[in-house]
Symmetry: C2
């Protein structure tokens, strides 16, 4: 990291006081309090849909955001990871670390991953300063998720073609005290978005 | 990812056309063209110092930046990696992936890692859209780096206490066609910063 020593140049009129740009400056520049909105829920619960709609609403409010989801993480940063328990854990850990770096960059980060294990989510929470981790439980009943089955995965899991599928033959550990809980499919999407955006407004993030 | 279907709410007056926030929107919001300034050079060459000073200059111009370096990456995202060849490669790959995500978020990313192997740097270049990877060679002579020896590492490497130290018993492959080359220690820091900031201005990044 740069030191705090002044830099003198050949031109005697220019003296810089060099110091690293700090998180608080990036946050002030963006007029927001950075945080990680960690969406968790079953496959098909609507995590990505709700997170995407929240991101759009925040963008329209002038916030600086980024959405991490399977589309931009699985084929890149985590491309060598399988769906074994150890690799799922490492997957969540890396996403947590990237979200932390992005929050350090001053952004409001949204992540949309099943992240079925309470412990893994707790690990990410611990990485971050208190109040920067906001768990959002997208609490859509399994029956609705399975009925939607947007990628046909539940059908395959029921047929035994996919093993260790969350909600079928692999456990989903619902959050016990998520900061926010929404019911996608039970309440309209716009209401879920409102609940989340209002939480951010009321708590001074935006 | 969110679909493009309109969302209707209980309130008939509100209809959203949902779509993901796009990179071009994030870039326009920040009034900059995102990119990755990839600093490479020997240990003690001044990569972090130059990158830190560039970040500060960019911040003062109103740019949205983030600096990835050993301080914020080694103990987090890459904490299990050693200094073996395979792990160094994986280290650079992950940093490249994170830099790519941050550029996708609309930021100007600065990275300060020795990244001694031409192939590893070429891999990162390939990950990114053309013109988003800007290689900055901090071309400080080995003799000067060794004389500075800010962390006492060269001394240990010469004494055989550290193995595979870049420049001593491990190769540094200098860039053949870096977009920018600066000489830290030969030219004043302020000049190096000017060269880099001018490159960004002239090429429309800021």
């Amino acid at each position: 990291m740069p030191t705090n020593s002044p830099i003198t140049t050949n031109n005697e009129n220019i003296v810089w006081h060099q110091h690293a740009v700090e998180k608080s400056q990036r946050s002030a520049q963006k007029k927001q309090k950075p945080c990680v909105l960690w969406f968790t829920g079953l496959s098909g619960s609507g995590k990505s849909t709700v997170a995407g709609a929240v991101e759009q609403a925040l963008f329209e409010l002038g916030a600086h955001t980024y959405l991490l989801d399977g589309d931009n993480v699985r084929m890149g940063l985590c491309k060598e990871l399988t769906f074994s328990d150890a690799d799922r854990k490492e997957n969540i850990r890396r996403i947590g670390e990237v979200a932390k770096l992005m929050a350090d960059a001053g952004l409001i980060v949204l992540t949309a991953f099943i992240s079925p294990h309470r412990n893994d989510r707790a690990q990410v929470r611990k990485m971050l300063p208190e109040t920067e981790f906001i768990e959002v439980f997208v609490d859509t009943p399994l029956a609705i998720c399975e009925q939607r089955d947007p990628k046909g995965l539940y059908k395959k899991a029921r047929a035994g073609e996919i093993k260790n599928f969350t909600g079928i033959d692999s456990v989903y550990e619902a959050p016990k005290s998520a900061e926010i809980r929404v019911e996608n499919g039970v309440q309209p999407l716009s209401q879920a978005v409102e609940v989340i955006v209002n939480y951010l407004k009321e708590n001074g993030y935006v």
